[in-house]
């Protein structure tokens, strides 16, 4: 008993969350209620958030276990659109695999895959207009790929080489692509959330038609930025979609450290009085439908939407951690919502728009596409060789629009010192 504690009162105890499964544990998801595909109602796009509370606790699902698209959220897409989404997801996975390997080969410093989460970026991008402004976290490479951005350009960024438009200033995967309406990625978490709201407010204030969308992980919903963003979005009814990618893990911390033991992330919307949806993030059709609903709502001046995409981070956080050290390897295998690519493929085959042969051919094509891009990117240099990097003095550029005297002086000093040292 602590000194000073009162003898007639029970001692207090501190709850420290603990995930259900650790390395070596058998995984059982029996108590996870995923609900039935097609069971959740689709409210009108201008629904009062107060009538939508159940949507924060249920799970919007379109694809059932057989691959049928069922229920009111079925976006009823043309098969060509669904095939395009499948292809973008496969290309993203091939891209990730290739660059992960490049990092392991020592060609660059760092890499992050989005394996298992591809639908949350790609289906969302397909449901948005190309000039809707995206404020992503570092795991939305799928947005760029869905907007047909150049793989070579992305790889040059990962390699920090001479052709990297960002001049080797950013860690790998922290892309920036204004032409694709893709905001510069920050390594600080959830900072993009209020920024997305600010963009949406500006667009609304100017009577424009562009909306904004932001992505963050469930872990970073704990940041003040998330809550400030929700407050601003609610107060000004900003035309913005706030996506939370609940992939269950924030590096080694399970979602319980962001509050998942007590409520859902979609339910954060209820306190702010904004529309909340909780969606199967491994169901590309559900992701598309939810994003389309939220985009239509924003465009109708009916306000923001917070969407929790329930998914699973199938790989480590990045190349810098080993997930077998903190979670059970069985989690991924037994994940009750499956794999987004496998599920969309099953659906396309079921409706007769796809088959195993075409799928195998597509896998081969995307692998070849990535290989060719990698060859082209590596011709511009890799981080490891240090030969084809940007000139040293570029370090002092773009701090300000015009270089002030102290940066000119420091730039000269650095070059002089290197020269005198013979390097």
């Amino acid at each position: 008993m602590a000194e000073g504690a009162r003898r007639n009162l029970p001692p207090l105890s501190l709850h420290v969350p603990e995930p259900k499964f650790r390395p070596g544990d058998a995984v059982d998801y029996a108590d996870f209620d995923r609900g039935e595909a097609g069971a959740v109602a689709r409210p009108p796009i201008d629904a009062d958030p107060a009538t939508m509370r159940e949507h924060s606790y249920s799970l919007v699902r379109v694809l059932d276990d057989e691959g049928r698209a069922v229920g009111p959220w079925d976006p009823r897409l043309e098969p060509e659109r669904v095939v395009a989404m499948l292809r973008h997801m496969a290309l993203t996975r091939a891209y990730d695999d290739r660059l992960y390997r490049a990092q392991r080969q020592g060609k660059t410093s760092f890499y992050m895959k989005c394996t298992g989460e591809e639908a949350t970026s790609i289906a969302a991008a397909h449901a948005l207009h190309r000039d809707d402004m995206c404020f992503p976290s570092y795991r939305q490479q799928g947005l760029l790929i869905a907007r047909n951005w150049s793989l070579v350009d992305m790889m040059c960024q990962v390699y920090s080489n001479r052709a990297d438009r960002l001049k080797g200033r950013q860690m790998p995967i922290m892309y920036s692509a204004k032409e694709a309406s893709f905001f510069s990625i920050s390594g600080n978490l959830a900072t993009q959330y209020p920024q997305a709201v600010g963009f949406a407010m500006a667009s609304a204030a100017r009577g424009d038609t562009r909306i904004a969308a932001a992505w963050c992980g469930e872990g970073s919903t704990a940041e003040g930025d998330f809550h400030s963003a929700c407050t601003f979005a609610s107060v000004y009814r900003a035309p913005v979609i706030l996506n939370v990618i609940n992939n269950q893990w924030a590096i080694s911390s399970f979602s319980g450290f962001a509050g998942a033991e007590n409520t859902t992330f979609a339910a954060r919307a209820i306190g702010y009085g904004i529309a909340g949806l909780r969606v199967d993030g491994n169901d590309a059709l559900a992701v598309y439908a939810a994003t389309e609903w939220a985009a239509d709502r924003a465009r109708a001046n009916a306000g923001p939407t917070l969407i929790e995409f329930f998914t699973y981070r199938a790989e480590g956080h990045s190349t810098s951690d080993d997930p077998t050290k903190y979670r059970s390897a069985e989690e991924n295998v037994k994940w009750p919502l499956g794999d987004p690519i496998a599920r969309l493929k099953q659906h396309l085959i079921l409706i007769g728009a796809w088959d195993e042969e075409r799928h195998a051919a597509m896998d081969k094509e995307v692998a070849e596409q990535v290989r060719a891009a990698q060859k082209e990117a590596e011709a511009q240099g890799i981080l490891a060789d240090g030969l084809l990097q940007h000139p040293f003095e570029t370090m002092f550029e773009d701090v300000f629009e015009e270089q002030p005297w102290h940066l000119k002086e420091q730039s000269r000093q650095m070059l002089d010192e290197r020269k005198k040292a013979g390097i």
């Binding site: 402004m133 920036s176 920050s186 900072t191 209020p194 709201v197 600010g198």
Partner: protein
């Protein structure tokens, strides 16, 4: 930058080439669209700058706590909402990180927000958005995205604001690569510098010394306040003009010692020099980043002595940077060690405010000390 200067009082070579003598009568200078002048205090000059710029550029929006209908707790944004509408001048939730984060997003859209942080003491929740986002955006995106915002915030003590309404956190921002930091000391400069800040394509932290909003306070807290109307720099052109960032003003030329100061301390220094008759050269830095190093260097090489004055705490304060620069560049011209007169390294106390404030007594002693050496 000199090609963009439209400062009527400083037209000609002086403004373009280096430090400028603050004009005794700016109204007499030639520029057409800025004239005529009328007497303004600092608040009126700031309000006028916002009004002029909002009239010129639809992309400028003003936001912050209480800045809309009410016109701000210091009235700097008064009448702006009525004139420009609620989508250009609006109140915000009480979340400084939200205000700056939203401003970054507005910049991304193409607006030029001028957010107000009600007191500089409240700016810390916004540090991540300022330091890691606004300041770095141009660099990290190699120019694809920028953050041309001007963050206005009243700062400094002398109003019995205690530890949460008195601080001078400029040193936190001068330390950050990618931010400009501006501190005006009079109505004429406040308007011209604010217009230059709003037009600047980089993020600017614009600290307004609130103790001198209504008059050039010289540190003698026991004497009646002199209103701005009696000061020549309260004659402010009603139209557009700007004072370039990065140019100091030589407030008084002198041979015996150089006093480097900004904000309220310019008037404390002016008062001390008038009272003691010491032949000091007083330099009002006006912009801390980028700093007008040429003017500082030329002055200290001439006088051989230097006193640095600011209200912020001493350790790692901007005075340390000034002192180091003077030492690096003027070492062989120095006759005495550089003295720093600053706030003490404590939180700003409420009842002992005037013991904390680096006033005339402490500045006089420091000047004596460098002159004795």
């Amino acid at each position: 930058m000199s090609d963009k200067i439209v400062a009527p009082a400083e037209a000609g070579a002086a403004a373009a080439e280096g430090a400028t003598q603050s004009p005794a009568a700016p109204a007499s200078a030639g520029a057409t669209d800025a004239a005529p002048t009328r007497p303004m205090n600092m608040i009126q000059a700031i309000n006028s700058a916002l009004d002029v710029m909002m009239g010129r550029d639809d992309n400028i929006v003003v936001m912050g706590e209480d800045v809309g209908f009410f016109g701000g707790v210091f009235k700097a944004t008064e009448h702006l909402q009525a004139k420009y509408g609620k989508t250009r001048v609006f109140d915000t939730p009480i979340t400084e990180l939200g205000i700056i984060g939203v401003a970054v997003g507005m910049c991304t859209y193409g607006l030029r927000p001028v957010p107000e942080i009600q007191f500089a003491d409240y700016i810390y929740p916004a540090l991540d958005q300022l330091v890691s986002e606004a300041a770095r955006l141009r660099y990290r995106s190699a120019g694809e995205y920028t953050a041309p915002m001007t963050v206005r915030s009243p700062f400094g003590g002398g109003i019995f604001g205690g530890q949460t309404h008195s601080q001078s956190p400029e040193g936190i921002f001068t330390h950050v690569a990618g931010l400009k930091t501006v501190v005006p000391s009079n109505p004429y400069d406040a308007k011209g510098l604010l217009i230059a800040s709003i037009e600047d394509n980089d993020p600017v932290i614009f600290f307004e010394p609130k103790r001198i909003y209504n008059g050039p306070f010289d540190g003698h807290y026991d004497r009646p306040v002199t209103p701005w109307a009696r000061h020549p720099l309260s004659a402010v052109p009603e139209g557009y003009y700007k004072i370039p960032l990065g140019k100091a003003a030589v407030v008084r030329e002198g041979e015996a010692v150089t006093i480097l100061c900004y904000g309220t301390m310019v008037h404390v220094a002016t008062g001390v020099v008038a009272d003691t008759g010491v032949d000091a050269e007083i330099i009002d830095l006006r912009t801390l980043v980028p700093l007008d190093i040429e003017t500082i260097e030329a002055s200290v090489k001439k006088t051989g002595r230097c006193v640095v004055v600011h209200e912020a705490t001493k350790t790692s304060g901007f005075g340390a940077e000034l002192s180091a620069l003077v030492q690096e560049r003027c070492f062989y011209a120095l006759e005495a060690p550089v003295e720093r007169v600053t706030g003490w390294d404590t939180p700003y106390p409420h009842s002992l405010e005037w013991a904390y404030f680096p006033g005339p007594v402490r500045l006089s002693r420091a000047i004596e000390k460098v002159l004795e050496a």
